[in-house]
């Protein structure tokens, strides 16, 4: 691992976490009732709430996954940025306001208000739980990825630390603290990203034509678990070696060796006319179990870097296969529809006093998030050309980029990224425990609970969900963070969006229709993902050709299917009842 733990980084990191916790405890003392726990009493100022949207939404995937994907493959990572942001338009213009008018805390409550049906409560609360847990997995994996090089601890330790801290925040304080924590964190993340972008532009672009920068690198894992790097044991002692940091421009336009400071426009223009060294990885497993991964430099024109279709995920769009193109369209559809369907985003819509304030906070949220996503392109490309990439791990691109500017930027960015994870995870745990307390216990099983019992059970379920998230975060260590987020968005969009949209816009929607739509959307999208070629390859270790589904992303099939089921079941129910 390239970055070694530094005392300064650890000190900054620990202070940050302690500050967050202290704030959470302080604000938590003001929160006593169930209403306060879940929605901060409807009294959060709209500007704060808007930036807190950004704190919720800019998750580990946004920050680590997108920057890493851009750093390794170019424009394709930016497609995620575009899709994640576009989803906000659906949330704001179609869903948010009518939902706010229904005046309920959770997705399940809002759906239930129109029908008072136990079936709806059950289906909606299960789907909220499933989506929350799926979205928690990439956050926890991201936490482990961050902790390992920052503090020199193993992956599982990072996951456990995040799980413990977040569960503590949620179980002691609840939503009021998380809104303010999210505000601080969302604001800081965007400010630091802007600062890094300025540093990237100031540094400009440099060419590295040395022979060493074109040497392939290997990582070998011997049957006993011993790790060799470029043929030597990994480490910093004598006779040991570490991977060489990578990420260089091999040729600048007109043979220049460096450009000096650039403006954003010149940065992208110069990069387009340059040639960049990207790295291709290939893993071979020998008969005795020795696993060797070879990383080979692949000089790529800047024009290719700035066009779609350069990554393994999206390369299908440059070919002729219709299915590969549909796979891309399907993912972009799921990103578009997924935002409005995420349970933790909807809850934050209830924390301001009226619809006008909610609209204003969404505008602030979109501005903050959009600004950040524009910066991701520069951060990613800066990391691609900044000479400090870890060739084995794209998720580390953003923190390592910061490290190339010195220990302070590295320490600060790592701390903010870590609190980003904390924030997103706490929002999800609140949503999940809300689903358990309000909908499963109160709604489906008709348990009568006192206010203090509700808060107590809410806290207990937070701890439970936190534990599950920790376990899954350890189990899924090897999986790509963006891939996991894609799962969560697809399931959320298929299960929740049709029910929400039709409830708000189609008067003949029935309770049975909503239950059927949530159930079918959730099960088909889950099933499709579990049977997809990507899952066969990355999870089960099977050949993707054995997969029974034609392409990996379910959205383009399961979202319309869930709509259709809702309409058909609603119409049939009407006829029988009439």
């Amino acid at each position: 691992m390239i970055p070694d733990p530094s005392a300064l980084a650890i000190a900054v990191f620990v202070s940050f976490v302690l500050f967050t916790l202290a704030l959470s405890f302080y604000l938590g003392r003001k929160t006593r009732s169930a209403a306060g726990y879940y929605t901060a009493g409807g009294g959060v100022p709209w500007f704060v709430n808007g930036v807190a949207f950004a704190g919720d939404y800019l998750s580990a995937a946004s920050f680590l996954g997108i920057c890493g994907m851009i750093a390794f493959y170019g424009y394709d990572g930016f497609l995620y940025s575009i899709g994640f942001l576009a989803g906000w338009v659906v949330a704001l213009l179609v869903i948010a306001e009518p939902l706010k008018r229904l005046g309920k805390y959770t997705f399940a409550d809002a759906l239930d208000k129109a029908f008072n049906s136990r079936g709806i409560k059950l289906a909606a609360s299960i789907s909220t739980l499933v989506v929350s847990v799926f979205y928690l997995i990439p956050q926890m994996v991201g936490a482990g990825v961050l902790i390992r090089p920052l503090l020199g601890l193993p992956h599982w330790a990072g996951v456990c630390i995040v799980g413990a801290v977040v569960t503590l925040i949620v179980a002691t304080a609840g939503m009021a603290s998380t809104t303010w924590v999210q505000f601080i964190k969302g604001g800081l993340l965007v400010l630091f990203a802007a600062g890094l972008t300025v540093m990237i532009l100031q540094r400009g672009l440099k060419a590295d034509a040395s022979a060493e920068s074109l040497q392939p690198q290997t990582v070998t894992i011997l049957p006993g678990g011993k790790k060799l790097v470029n043929g030597l044991p990994q480490g910093r002692g004598e006779g040991e070696t570490e991977l060489r940091p990578v990420g260089h421009i091999s040729k600048l336009p007109d043979g220049a060796s460096e450009t000096g400071p650039l403006n954003p426009d010149e940065f992208l223009g110069t990069l387009r006319d340059s040639e960049v060294n990207l790295w291709a990885a290939k893993t071979v497993i020998a008969d005795d179990g020795t696993k060797t991964t070879t990383y080979t430099p692949k000089p790529t024109s800047g024009a290719d870097v700035l066009r779609p279709g350069n990554s393994p995920t999206f390369k299908g769009i440059q070919g002729d296969s219709i299915l590969a193109k549909l796979n891309f369209v399907s993912l972009m559809l799921a990103l578009f529809c997924g935002t409005a369907s995420l349970p933790h985003i909807l809850i934050r819509y209830y924390t301001v006093k009226d619809a006008a304030a909610a609209r204003k906070s969404t505008v602030v949220g979109i501005a903050t998030i959009g600004g950040f996503y524009i910066l991701t392109l520069f951060l990613g490309l800066g990391a691609m050309t900044g000479g400090n990439l870890d060739v084995t791990n794209s998720n580390m691109a953003a923190p390592l980029l910061a490290k190339s500017f010195g220990t302070w930027p590295f320490a600060l960015i790592s701390a903010v990224a870590f609190t980003t994870v904390l924030g997103t995870v706490s929002g999800l745990i609140v949503a999940a425990s809300g689903a358990i307390v309000h909908d499963l216990l109160g709604g489906t099983f008709k348990m009568t609970l006192t206010d203090s019992a509700k808060v107590r059970i809410g806290k207990l379920s937070s701890v439970g969900v936190g534990l599950i998230a920790v376990v899954l975060g350890i189990v899924f260590e090897k999986m790509n963070v963006n891939f996991l987020v894609g799962w969560a968005f697809s399931v959320a969009a298929s299960a929740n969006l049709p029910a929400l949209v039709m409830l708000l816009f189609w008067k003949r929607t029935t309770a049975a229709g909503i239950v059927a739509s949530i159930t079918v959307g959730m099960l088909t999208s889950l099933g499709w993902i579990l049977l997809s070629g990507d899952t066969f390859k990355d999870v089960y270790g099977l050949s993707p050709e054995q997969s029974p589904v034609p392409f990996s992303q379910p959205g383009i099939v399961t979202i319309p299917l869930s709509f259709a089921v809702l309409v058909v079941v609603s119409l049939m129910g009407r006829r029988r009842g009439a």
Partner: protein
């Protein structure tokens, strides 16, 4: 003792006329954005080479379109917040 669990977040006075009007504005703006987004996705999927075109200013179509979609989301949100009215009977 009110059932805090189901006490709604503060509810505004209902005004069906304004609500309908706001919802219509939302859907129109949504349709506009949807058209741009769908166009972007379809061009990427079925004519990716068009995204290579270098536009005046020296950036390619892919980068310009990406920035435009992100800025566009903000502009649409701002327009929506401007055009929507508060329910009748609320001061300000």
């Amino acid at each position: 003792m009110p059932d805090l669990d189901h006490a709604p977040a503060p509810v505004e006075p209902r005004d069906p006329g304004t609500e309908r009007r706001n919802a219509r504005i939302g859907l129109i703006l949504f349709a506009v954005y949807l058209a741009f987004y769908a166009g972007f996705v379809l061009v990427n999927a079925f004519a990716p080479s068009a995204m290579d075109t270098v536009l005046p200013g020296g950036l390619n179509a892919a980068v310009i379109a990406g920035f435009a979609l992100i800025l566009g989301a903000f502009v649409i949100a701002l327009l929506y917040a401007r055009l929507c009215r508060k329910p009748h009977g609320v001061s300000k």
